[in-house]
């Protein structure tokens, strides 16, 4: 595994490795079986449908005791998830694209009521045009809803991130919902090798869910989600924002504990061949695999290219990202968005990464690329073209374009 860390290997692992082959959806469903959550309200939508379908099979076979709530829409799925979580049940759901969009109002309520719901998001474009394939416009559209967002490159990371979601969400310092994201079809449906953990080890890792306050708690009444007048609303939002900031260190602690169990190391992002990289591609999700393969070839030609794969998008690790770019001595940075913001100047990563660099006084050249919308292929040739352009920008041969589409017919 290329993300296995040497330091971690020296630690006695607490789970035996189980080799298998699975799709990303299967991997998440397998993790759900191991965790055996209390409640799952869900409504099917491509490409996440397999997750509730597989969980239903586990339930029908008596392998888990999860209460599955078939609902009539995603709006109801998230509403039921909020009710169940507030009642004191460990609650999950899964969705994609328009399903997440229909949850919009409730996403904000899950976060502001500080309910640690875990949602498996299988990233798919938002209409229109209506299309079922991958981009990040669903997850990016929900970027300001107060959810923690963690993105996976492949099925292994989708599985590993999913297991880590519960200790992060349920930590008393955090108490926020978590979205575990994987690329629709590319990751969710492609079958790849995977290293699974033992059931007992996963159960020990996530532990029993023991909320401090919950509705079904006789003698200790609590009211959830009360109306707040203007004297209190702003203070409540700042309290929620503080929890998101605290989530950063909890994510790292959880990753360290996960590493001791699995041997696989995670952080806010992965730095691939970054130690002396002059040209860096910053991106999220499955395209990072393509970028790494291209960077390997460029390195053979003596071109110092590297990949910074962002894993944790919320909370946004601004200072750490900027420091990584500063450290490697990057001459030009490609910020790749699998999402259009329709703001006239680029995508969400383009905005947030350049802000992070400016605030940290890291004044490297940047180009914001839009790629892979609605399942458009992203290839190693595209990466070669990007790095060529970065070199020209860094050498002063061309001015950096404002923002540029990859693989667009023009």
């Amino acid at each position: 595994m290329n993300h296995t860390d040497k330091n971690c290997k020296t630690i006695q692992m607490t789970s035996r490795e189980i080799r298998d082959r699975m799709s990303g959806n299967e991997a998440v469903a397998y993790a759900i079986r191991q965790i055996d959550p209390d409640v799952m309200p869900a409504f099917p939508i491509t490409p996440s449908t397999e997750i509730p379908q597989m969980v239903s099979t586990y339930i029908a076979n008596g392998e888990i005791g999860t209460e599955f709530i078939p609902v009539e829409s995603e709006h109801s799925a998230m509403s039921a998830a909020i009710g169940a979580e507030a009642a004191g049940a460990r609650t999950i759901t899964a969705t994609s694209s328009a399903g997440l969009a229909l949850m919009w109002e409730e996403l904000l309520l899950a976060a502001s009521n500080r309910l640690p719901v875990v949602l498996a998001l299988v990233n798919r474009t938002l209409s229109g045009p209506i299309n079922i394939n991958c981009d990040h416009s669903d997850g990016m559209g929900a970027r300001d809803t107060g959810w923690i967002q963690i993105y996976a490159e492949n099925n292994q990371e989708a599985y590993d991130n999913y297991i880590q979601a519960f200790p992060i969400a349920e930590d008393p310092r955090v108490h926020l919902p978590v979205m575990i994201c994987q690329d629709g079809f590319i990751t969710s449906h492609a079958v790849e090798n995977i290293s699974l953990l033992e059931d007992d080890a996963v159960k020990r890792f996530v532990g029993q869910y023991e909320p401090e306050e919950f509705l079904l708690n006789p003698g200790r009444p609590v009211s959830v989600g009360p109306y707040a007048v203007s004297d209190y609303s702003m203070e409540a939002k700042k309290g929620q924002e503080d929890a998101m900031e605290r989530a950063g260190s909890v994510i790292l602690e959880t990753a360290e504990r996960f590493c001791r169990m699995s041997g696989r190391k995670y952080g806010f992002f992965e730095e691939y061949r970054m130690e002396d990289a002059e040209y860096v591609l910053l991106l999220m999700g499955s395209a990072a695999g393509t970028a790494k393969a291209a960077v390997d070839q460029l390195r053979q030609q003596g071109i110092r290219a590297g990949v910074l794969k962002l894993r944790v998008f919320r909370p946004f690790p601004a200072a750490e990202l900027a420091e990584a770019i500063r450290r490697c001595g990057c001459r030009a940075l490609a910020i790749l968005d699998r999402c259009e913001s329709y703001n006239g100047v680029g995508g969400p990563l383009g905005s947030e990464v350049t802000q992070a660099l400016y605030r940290a006084k890291v004044y490297t050249e940047t180009v914001n690329y839009i790629y892979g919308l609605a399942g458009r292929d992203f290839t190693v040739e595209h990466v070669f073209g990007i790095v060529d352009e970065l070199r020209d920008v860094a050498d002063g041969k061309v001015l950096p374009p404002d923002h540029k589409y990859i693989g667009l017919r023009s």
Binding site: L115, R220, P226, A236
Partner: protein, 99 residues
């Protein structure tokens, strides 16, 4: 931590509020005089009332208390003036008046 919410005031710093503004108590809506929102008020004519009790269970705000098998006076602290009680009364004993 179960904070006594009676100690929270508009001068409490944000770190002193409860998580998600949870209230560690039940039935707290009783303390809010939401009847202030009312623009139309039901008035009971005791002469016409037969104590059939159809009005009490339909009140969405539980503002028609019942004791010893008889409806009591309206709880105007919480009545919103929706008029359902007046509509359901078979004897025309409840009249809606504009405030």
């Amino acid at each position: 931590m179960r904070t006594d919410i009676r100690n929270i005031t508009p001068s409490t710093p944000y770190t002193g509020l409860t998580e998600g503004l949870q209230l560690y108590a039940a039935g707290t809506s009783r303390q809010f005089m939401s009847g202030e929102w009312r623009t139309s008020t039901p008035v009971l004519d005791m002469e016409k009332c037969r104590q059939c009790l159809l009005c009490a269970p339909v009140c969405p705000d539980s503002c028609i208390p019942v004791a010893d098998g008889k409806r009591q006076a309206f709880d105007y602290d919480h009545c919103k003036g929706c008029g359902i009680c007046a509509a359901v009364c078979p004897f025309g004993a409840i009249a809606m008046t504009e405030d």
